[in-house]
């Protein structure tokens, strides 16, 4: 403190009154007045300026993180079965939890921006030069600590986003020569990601890093006060005191930062309000993805936006293998940081200072450019016109991408081939972006579903939210269907315009709302039964059922229309699906026709009609969960198609004593999903 305000009178005067007396007593024992005076009456050469506010804003942002972080800590539970769950509870069930978490999340991002501004101001003003070199280095260390906290905090919700981003980050740490694999294992807390990854990251995020940061911050501020504020030259105005002139500017800037943070959090609420939609506070502030699942791909994985430039930078080294990644993720950033540490020495020369400024601006501009490139690549499909590349798509489809065939198709013309390659590249970029956007949309749907499930009255089972998602027909059904059923069966609403094209490619019945009224009506429709949505593409296309529907059922002399309708509702009733308000009499009439050995019952076993099983599928409980589980488990069972099963595998029966393709639970999930039987939150 070589520059304490000489004019300010710091000798305490005896105060009057009880409060004054108390203050005197306290000052005698602590000397607090001198401390406050020391803190507030710092000379600001050339007067208060807006460009000095960034340091104070960073301290303010850090204090905000400490306050919100401590309270988040009071509700957070770091383990693989409770991290997502406790964050869900904070975000969706705790009063004000969404605001608390939102402030913590958005302020973390504001801190990164403030860091960049502070650094820029210090470098441009040359504030790093003698005698402030050490303080500049302390600042660079603080910057890394803040980035470290950002990186570790990202994992703590244990959602898909944080989980996969952390896997990438820790795998990159494993690229460090010699110690890499051990380093990675230490950070991860073992050979695999789990409880100890969370406890370690949490200890780093809430203990080690902030404690270290406070230590360095104290040093940083002490040195700042020791050398005084580095004034922007030339000084044109008279000096002022830190209090209240600079404090006012700092306070206004802090308030502005907080306003921006709140603005980011509340913007969706405002938008919903203007659109007249209800505001769901759980959707405000920080996102919470679906629970981390190492068994599910997560194509929407991206680091937080302030690390996007590194992510994009790594793409430069694509094709270089591990050494390229090492170069891009560790060597180049390391060298850049090393050079920044040398700035105070380089800056001793006038040209050196100019270099430093140019270098800092270039780094920031480069990072900005890389971020823009990353965003452009990801969201390209939003504005690119894919139809302009229809010819490329067609040619690729025709040739299967084979180089020689392509060359031949383009007449072996070098120029044409080069032009095609260029356009093919652009086409691939659109497709990549499309895939990313689909993944983002899916991730959002998965996240919403997980939150819906967690909000059930029964709450989350002790095994965690992932077990809920894994036993949810709506989440798992489409995945299992795509994997095991969709190679033959379609699953699409026949009313959709693209349905016809999908039916044409399928080689078995469309299972959309199987067993329901619409499905049953189509089955008994002479126009549809032999179509591709039913038996058309199967071995049963000329079977007895098809000829029965086309020949007999369509004959009003044999089957009155209300009789057909009765069978349709009886089938839906048998499947335990909605019957569209059909009367009990109609259902009973349909059931009678189903059992009648002159009607359906001549082939199908139903009720007590004594028709033998084996010739046609059992109509008892037709389309019900139990029936569906049965046919998926073993379609060659006596109840279904013991003689003429058409290609359908017995998913629940292991061959040669091995395990079956699908477990009982998985088959149940498929059946429940087909039947539309899953948890629906109230109000949906």
């Amino acid at each position: 403190m070589s520059t304490t305000a000489p004019q300010a009178d710091s000798t305490p005067k005896p105060s009057s009154g009880l409060l004054g007396g108390l203050a005197d007593w306290f000052d005698d024992r602590t000397g607090y007045r001198a401390l406050v005076h020391e803190a507030l009456y710092e000379r600001v050469p050339g007067g208060a300026r807006w460009r000095y506010v960034w340091g104070s804003c960073l301290v303010f942002a850090f204090m905000t993180q400490v306050i919100t972080g401590l309270v988040l800590w009071a509700s957070y539970s770091a383990s693989a079965q409770t991290a997502w769950e406790s964050v869900y509870y904070i975000q969706h069930e705790m009063a004000g939890g969404w605001l608390l978490r939102g402030i913590h999340h958005v302020m973390a991002q504001a801190m990164v921006v403030l860091l960049a501004l502070h650094l820029m101001q210090v470098v441009i003003d040359g504030a790093y030069r003698a005698p402030r070199e050490v303080n500049f280095w302390l600042g660079l260390i603080l910057m890394q600590l803040v980035l470290g906290m950002a990186l570790t905090g990202y994992l703590l919700p244990w959602d898909q986003k944080g989980y996969w981003a952390t896997r990438v980050a820790t795998n990159l740490a494993g690229l460090v020569p010699l110690v890499g694999p051990s380093l990675q294992q230490l950070v991860v807390g073992g050979p695999d990601y789990g409880h100890h990854t969370l406890t370690r990251f949490f200890a780093l995020h809430a203990g080690f890093l902030p404690a270290t940061l406070v230590g360095f911050l104290v040093l940083h501020l002490t040195l700042f006060r020791k050398h005084g504020l580095h004034a922007k030259q030339p000084i044109t105005k008279p000096d002022a005191m830190f209090w209240p002139d600079q404090v006012l500017k700092d306070a206004v800037a802090m308030l502005a930062v907080m306003a921006v943070v709140l603005g980011v959090i509340l913007m969706p609420a405002l938008r919903a309000m203007l659109a007249g939609e209800p505001i769901v506070t759980g959707h405000l502030g920080a996102e919470l993805g679906a629970p981390a699942d190492p068994s599910q791909p997560y194509a929407a994985a991206r680091p937080e936006w302030y690390f996007l430039f590194l992510f994009q930078f790594l793409k430069v080294f694509e094709g270089w293998g591990a050494s390229g990644e090492f170069l891009g993720a560790i060597v180049v950033p390391g060298l850049t940081l090393g050079l920044m540490f040398l700035m105070p020495i380089i800056g001793r020369w006038k040209l050196g200072h100019r270099f430093n400024v140019a270098f800092t601006l270039a780094i920031l501009a480069g990072a900005g450019l890389l971020t823009a490139m990353a965003l452009h690549e990801d969201y390209y499909a939003l504005w690119a016109d894919k139809t302009a590349y229809a010819d490329v798509e067609e040619l690729l489809k025709k040739t299967g991408g084979d180089e020689q065939q392509l060359a031949a198709a383009l007449g072996n013309d070098e120029a044409k081939l080069a032009e095609f390659e260029k356009r093919r590249h652009e086409y691939e970029a659109i497709r990549k972006s499309e895939a990313f956007l689909v993944a983002v949309k899916q991730a959002k749907a998965d996240a919403e579903r997980a939150v819906d499930l967690a909000g059930r009255p029964e709450k989350i089972p002790p095994a965690g939210a992932l077990s809920l998602v894994r036993s949810d027909p709506l989440s798992q059904g489409p995945l299992l269907f795509a994997q095991h059923c969709a190679s033959c069966h379609a699953h699409i609403d026949p009313a959709k315009p693209e349905a016809a094209a999908i039916f044409a490619q399928a080689s078995a019945a469309n299972l959309f709302e199987f067993g329901g009224l619409v499905w049953a009506r189509g089955l008994l429709d002479p126009e549809q039964v032999a179509g591709p949505a039913y038996f058309g593409n199967t071995a049963h296309s000329d079977g007895d059922m098809v000829s029965f529907v086309t020949d007999e059922l369509s004959d009003p002399d044999l089957w009155k229309p209300d009789e057909v309708e009765a069978v349709i509702v009886a089938l839906a009733a048998e499947a335990e699906l909605p019957t569209g308000g059909a009367s009990a009499d109609l259902v009973a009439k349909g059931r009678g026709l189903m059992a009648d050995t002159d009607r359906c019952g001549s082939c199908h076993a139903y009720a007590d009609n004594e028709t033998e099983l084996g010739y046609a599928p059992d109509l008892n409980g037709w389309g019900s969960r139990e029936w569906l589980v049965g046919i998926i488990t073993d379609p060659t069972h006596q109840r279904f198609y013991p003689e003429d099963n058409d290609r359908m595998p017995s998913f629940g029966v292991g061959s040669n004593g091995g395990p079956p393709t699908l477990t009982e639970d998985q088959i149940g999930l498929i059946a429940d999903w087909l039947r539309g039987s899953w948890y629906r939150p109230a109000g949906h």
């Binding site: 509700s75 904070i90 705790m94 608390l100 002022a240 209240p244 709140l262 989350i460 002790p462």
Partner: protein
């Protein structure tokens, strides 16, 4: 600020006051935002209640001998702990006894009314004893003086349903006070 410059002290003093007031307001407002959010969230547990006491099945009347001897039964029910829902979990214990020839029962909560410890049955001395501060109670739940407990053991309402199950109204009471007051 008036002491640092030579401007008119009155104007300067007013300007200084406004600057200081504004600085405190802006800084205060900025700081109070996270503090407010933090307080809001910290107070969340006050919104939560245990729910009204409900009758839970603890045993079958047929399995409880009518010898006037209290027996300990776990109280089992579904339980929600913040985000986790547990199916059929023991959440506490009761002592239930049946007098000779009676087809009704009496139940006592195993929670000590003094400080909430688990009261054990001392079969040798034929009394209940709390291991924490040595409160002792008779087998009817009455205080054995001198005792740190301000009131007898808490009796719980009982019912016998049609199937012969003993149902006990499970409630927690405030401890350390003379009156028996159920927690909300």
């Amino acid at each position: 600020m008036s002491e640092h410059t030579k401007a008119d002290p009155a104007t300067e003093g007013r300007r200084g006051f406004i600057t200081k007031a504004l600085a405190i307001c802006c800084g205060g407002l900025a700081t109070l935002t996270p503090v407010g959010a933090a307080i809001w969230a910290v107070l969340d547990p006050l919104r939560r209640t245990a729910g009204a006491g409900s009758f839970l099945r603890v045993a079958d009347l047929a399995n409880l001998p009518d010898d006037g001897q209290p027996r300990q039964f776990p109280v089992i029910t579904d339980r929600v702990d913040a985000w986790t829902g547990y199916d059929a979990e023991p959440i506490g214990a009761v002592y239930v006894k049946r007098e000779k020839g009676s087809d009704t029962v009496e139940a006592l909560s195993a929670t000590c009314p003094h400080a909430g410890c688990f009261v054990e049955m001392d079969k040798e001395s034929k009394c209940f004893r709390c291991p924490c501060h040595n409160s002792a109670f008779t087998l009817d739940g009455g205080i054995v003086a001198p005792s740190p407990s301000p009131r007898p053991m808490d009796s719980l309402e009982c019912q016998i349903d049609k199937s012969g199950s003993i149902l006990v109204k499970w409630q927690n009471f405030y401890t350390g006070i003379e009156e028996k007051v159920a927690r909300p």
